[in-house]
């Protein structure tokens, strides 16, 4: 049995979901989207999935299309939340976990999905943050991810524009801001896996074809490292099968550069 990095990456995201959690992903997030369904079909059958921009509850799509507001994603959902119903639930803390990515991510897990170079004079205007600015403050826990760690431009010391809240902003930490959400719990990259301690990312695991020097070279924020064994076991057969069944079009692959897509394991 062999598998690709994109498959393992999705499995790593999926494992951040606890059984019985209420989980949401935003649009433009194929890896997170696939991961939610993988979790539901493997270790977290009791989770409740809110399907991205459709707000459908626990749908069973036959495939994941590359656009997030598509009828294919509603399949077999008993219920579709209204837009305001979902965002109210997120604001009052009824959603346990959300997946968040960013063009830039700092050591506190703050993300920039608005503009490289900031505003009003962006170097690159990114798409924008959707609802993350508010709901990153109140959702139970966040799984942050990027597939562009190796670029050296993604994990940065300071985000050029703070769109979504991590553990600490220039105006204070979550307690000082009055934010009930617990903030980023995991940061998953194509190089390895971070958790957060004292509100700062800490590297726990490297993918087997990655060295600490690779991560060090690619990370702009202070690199805290405390590696452990057993936190990123290889995908099980069931997990791989779920990834492939959920995502026959391979939309997850659109998040990765061509070099990363060539990585295979073991």
């Amino acid at each position: 049995m062999s598998w690709t990095l994109d498959e393992w990456f999705v499995v790593a995201l999926a494992r951040t979901i606890g059984d019985g959690e209420v989980v949401f992903h935003g649009f433009a997030s194929p890896c997170a989207q696939v991961a939610m369904h993988v979790a539901k079909r493997t270790h977290a059958p009791g989770s409740l999935l809110v399907e991205g921009a459709t707000y459908a509850v626990d749908p069973v799509p036959v495939f994941v299309p590359p656009t997030s507001n598509d009828l294919a994603l509603h399949r077999d959902a008993t219920y579709r939340m209204r837009f305001e119903e979902f965002f109210d639930a997120a604001c009052r803390g009824a959603i346990d976990r959300m997946f968040l990515s960013g063009g830039q991510i700092d050591g506190y897990g703050n993300t920039n999905v608005t503009a490289i170079g900031g505003l009003p004079h962006p170097k690159i205007k990114l798409g924008g943050g959707g609802g993350g600015c508010n709901i990153s403050a109140t959702i139970g826990a966040l799984t942050v991810w990027t597939t562009r760690h190796r670029s050296g431009r993604t994990l940065v010391r300071h985000v050029d524009f703070l769109t979504d809240i991590g553990h600490r902003t220039p105006e204070g930490d979550r307690a000082e801001l009055g934010y009930p959400g617990r903030g980023p719990e995991w940061l998953v990259t194509e190089l390895g896996l971070f958790d957060f301690v004292d509100g700062h990312a800490r590297l726990r695991v490297l993918f087997p074809d990655v060295t600490l020097a690779d991560v060090d070279a690619a990370t702009g924020f202070e690199l805290r490292v405390e590696l452990v064994d057993g936190l990123l076991p290889p995908p099980t057969a069931a997990e791989l099968e779920a990834v492939r069944a959920v995502d026959p079009l391979g939309v997850r692959r659109s998040e990765f550069g061509p070099d990363e897509l060539r990585r295979t394991f073991p």
């Binding site: 707000y55 495939f63 507001n69 598509d70 009828l71 943050g129 609802g131």
Partner: protein
């Protein structure tokens, strides 16, 4: 909206509908991402040479980008404009933001929702829980802080947002403007009630009884004009009619990214030529094939 729109016959042409949206208007765009976008109205506004529009909404794509590409937008206050991982950044939006041709007042879905609710509820402000600590506040000098009289917490206060007009598209509607939508409604309901008027296209104008049987999502008393425009959301999807037209979108993005004559020729061919010519270019068989089987549906996205 203050003041309902009474009357039983609000049928109009696309030109008449566009005439209800002056340059400089604050315009809410219905639908979301690449679904149920009011594209026929967007094209009509471009043909009518509108400019300095202030567009507001949640997550959008070619509707906003095409308006920007055509020079119709002054201020962009959406929470996202782009084509996700599938087709990437929005080329005209990106360029206009980077050159300063459009004022970027990016917002957050929850903030926009809250501002619409303030308008809908007749309130002069509402608080949001988040935003504090982010750079969104600096982008919006119109926000204020307010202290919760119960907890003493300082919250961000946002003003009501009552768009001059909400542009919607629905699969079916009647002459009075009663519309049926399938979920997700995105912000269409909130837009309808918070805006001064709804101007809408429908794929099919049908008898009231058919809308009632399907369920009235947007009541006619919010609607000032309704235009029958088959494939009015294309190249966005409007199920159950038609799916996302990926080749068309890719073609648009290439043209918009190139700018200049490539963009001009897209606009000539797909906008200035008018809706009859536009519809003649649609591969109807392909876009309606999604309902035949899951395999055909998947093929639309390969």
């Amino acid at each position: 909206m203050t003041g309902f729109h009474l009357g039983t016959d609000k049928r109009a042409t696309l030109d008449e509908a566009a005439a209800l949206v002056p340059s400089g208007a604050t315009v809410a765009l219905g639908g979301g991402l690449c679904a149920r976008l009011p594209m026929a109205l967007v094209r009509a506004l471009v043909r009518a040479d509108r400019n300095e529009l202030h567009v507001v909404g949640s997550a959008h794509s070619i509707d906003v980008d095409l308006l920007i590409a055509a020079g119709a937008v002054g201020v962009c206050e959406e929470s996202y404009v782009g084509f996700e991982q599938d087709l990437g950044l929005a080329p005209a939006y990106r360029r206009a933001a980077e050159t300063g041709a459009v004022a970027v007042r990016e917002s957050c879905c929850v903030t926009v929702l809250t501002q619409l609710r303030a308008a809908e509820m007749g309130l002069s402000f509402l608080p949001v829980r988040g935003v504090k600590g982010t750079d969104m506040e600096a982008l919006h000098p119109e926000y204020r802080r307010v202290r919760c009289p119960f907890t003493g917490d300082e919250l961000v206060a946002v003003p009501p947002l009552a768009p001059d007009v909400a542009l919607l598209h629905a699969p079916i509607g009647d002459a009075a403007g009663n519309l049926h939508l399938d979920q997700p409604y995105v912000l269409d309901e909130r837009f309808a009630h918070a805006s001064r008027m709804v101007v809408t296209t429908v794929d099919r104008l049908v008898p009231t009884s058919e809308v009632v049987a399907a369920g009235v999502t947007i009541p006619g008393h919010t609607v000032a004009a309704v235009v029958e425009a088959p494939f009015g959301a294309h190249p966005a999807s409007c199920y159950p009619g038609y799916a996302y037209d990926r080749p068309h979108l890719a073609g648009y993005i290439a043209a918009a990214a190139a700018g200049g004559s490539q963009l001009a020729s897209y606009l000539d061919r797909y906008v200035h030529a008018g809706e009859d010519a536009y519809r003649a270019e649609i591969d109807v068989a392909r876009l309606t094939s999604w309902s035949t089987c899951d395999t055909a549906w998947q093929e639309l996205f390969r």
